[in-house]
């Protein structure tokens, strides 16, 4: 017995061709790249402000804006081009470079600033360590500083201006020979979450 099949209308080939177009590496990268980048950006935005409740430097919002994706031969890469993100994620030692000590902010006024931005800093050694401090305005007045420098001091102090003006001494930075930061895996979304997001985006691209 023999059966002859005559194809009068080929619907399969165009459908397969259409599917093949949707399955190019370029298109799948275009599906997964923005999806994963958006997941990372939303994750960063959810990390909130600093633990001490000091005025925010918007570190994580900046990290979200510095997040982008690119096509690579192996697939897709999501990059975060911001100093400090990798350090928070993987942890590790931080040692002073071009200076003898790290300056760790111990005041909301100093947070997000470099020591060089504060005029009139002086070294204060205590049993608990060495600090960089700035005279309060009253203290500065007692030393008969110029009106101009006093004005600059008030501007540079920020924070609670009244309290700081009354204070004799404002301790701004702690000096440290180095710190060993613990890694924080929660800086990035879990790999399973990234993988699920990419898979879902690819499924939607194929179904389109």
């Amino acid at each position: 017995m023999s059966v002859t099949i005559e194809v009068t209308q080929d619907k399969a080939t165009p459908a397969i061709e259409k599917l093949k177009k949707r399955l190019t590496p370029q298109r799948l990268a275009s599906a997964a790249g923005p999806a994963c980048a958006r997941l990372v950006q939303r994750h960063f935005r959810g990390l909130g402000t600093n633990k001490r409740g000091w005025p925010s430097t918007h570190f994580w919002a900046r990290a979200a804006r510095a997040t982008f994706w690119s096509r690579e031969p192996e697939g897709v890469m999501v990059s975060v081009n911001q100093i400090g993100v990798r350090q928070r994620w993987l942890g590790g030692q931080i040692k002073p470079v071009n200076a003898r000590a790290l300056t760790i902010p111990v005041s909301p006024v100093a947070y997000g600033h470099r020591a060089s931005e504060f005029p009139g800093l002086f070294l204060l050694k205590t049993k608990k360590g060495a600090y960089l401090a700035q005279r309060g305005v009253e203290g500065a007045r007692a030393e008969k500083i110029s009106a101009k420098l006093r004005k600059t001091l008030i501007h540079s102090m920020g924070g609670n201006a009244n309290r700081r003006q009354r204070a004799r001494l404002n301790i701004l930075f702690k000096l440290s020979s180095g710190v060993d930061q613990a890694p924080d895996p929660n800086v990035l979304p879990a790999m399973t979450e990234l993988s699920a997001t990419a898979t879902q985006a690819i499924k939607e691209a194929i179904a389109r």
Binding site: S30, T57, F68, V80, S116, E204
Partner: protein, 266 residues
């Protein structure tokens, strides 16, 4: 995934590189009157005639956008080096001190004082975000597949503000001017500020339609000075669910000459 060799955000870095330093004595409102294309391809700041200062800002902004991997002497592992806003601020203050800059009498510590934190922060923030926003805009519009699969943007708040500007109201006015009732309806129905990439609403937001004078003239974020707002990608499925695009309909990119962002200013 590779973690030790960051890839530069090419579009953002390229856009910044194309911007030519333009010293000016114009105020921000006068600058806003200039041709948009000139502004997009210029690196400038209101009433800043110091070319050396603008050059240093540009170098610093590039360092923030594109940190480098370096192997320090005696180290076995590379570290990322580059500026952050605080180190750039210190760098700029150092330069101004070096050239003995003095603010005008009565402007010390204000936005008009080129050495004030407020002024330096604003210049750095605006220029970093402009390059990143342009980069995102190009990446989101240049590729046919990306436009097809991610046909819309969502305007979202990235940074909290003590007194946030009323972006919902701006959205409604911009939707009206751009003739995009779907964008307006999206806000009304879902509370989300989403619109197709091809919508004129993005340029209208950047133009401050409705009489806003804090805008930057671009169809991409940050839209306005210190806005705290940014754009997220919206997938085709979401855009369809939000009523922005019909199922199966062709998605279009923004009507914008992307190449103009990379042309060096004349």
């Amino acid at each position: 995934m590779i973690f030790d060799a960051p890839i530069p955000f090419r579009e953002a870095v390229k856009q910044l590189a194309a911007r030519k330093v333009m010293p000016t004595s114009l105020s921000s409102s006068e600058l806003a009157q200039l041709n948009r294309e000139v502004m997009r391809t210029s690196f400038t700041s209101a009433r800043t005639t110091l070319e050396g200062l603008l050059e240093r800002y540009k170098v610093g902004v590039e360092s923030i956008l594109n940190p480098q991997q370096v192997l320090r002497e005696g180290a076995t592992q590379t570290v990322t080096e580059g500026m952050d806003p605080a180190s750039l601020r210190a760098f700029i203050k150092g330069y101004l001190k070096e050239i003995q800059y003095r603010p005008e009498e009565g402007t010390e510590g204000t936005i008009k004082d080129l050495s004030s934190d407020a002024r330096i922060n604003l210049v750095v923030k605006t220029n970093v975000e402009l390059a990143q926003g342009a980069g995102k805009f190009v990446q989101g519009n240049a590729d046919e597949d990306v436009v097809d699969l991610w046909p819309a943007w969502e305007l979202v708040r990235y940074e909290d503000r003590d007194e946030p500007r009323d972006w919902a109201q701006r959205w409604r006015l911009a939707a009206q001017v751009a003739g995009d009732p779907k964008a307006a309806a999206c806000l009304g129905l879902s509370g989300r500020m989403c619109a197709l990439k091809s919508s004129g609403i993005w340029q209208a937001l950047g133009d401050g339609e409705g009489g806003y004078e804090d805008t930057l003239g671009n169809p991409f974020p940050p839209f306005a000075f210190n806005s705290g707002m940014w754009c997220d990608d919206v997938s085709r499925k979401e855009a369809t669910d939000l009523g922005l695009i019909e199922e199966g309909a062709e998605a279009k990119p923004a009507q914008f000459d992307l190449g103009s962002l990379f042309k060096e200013a004349a």
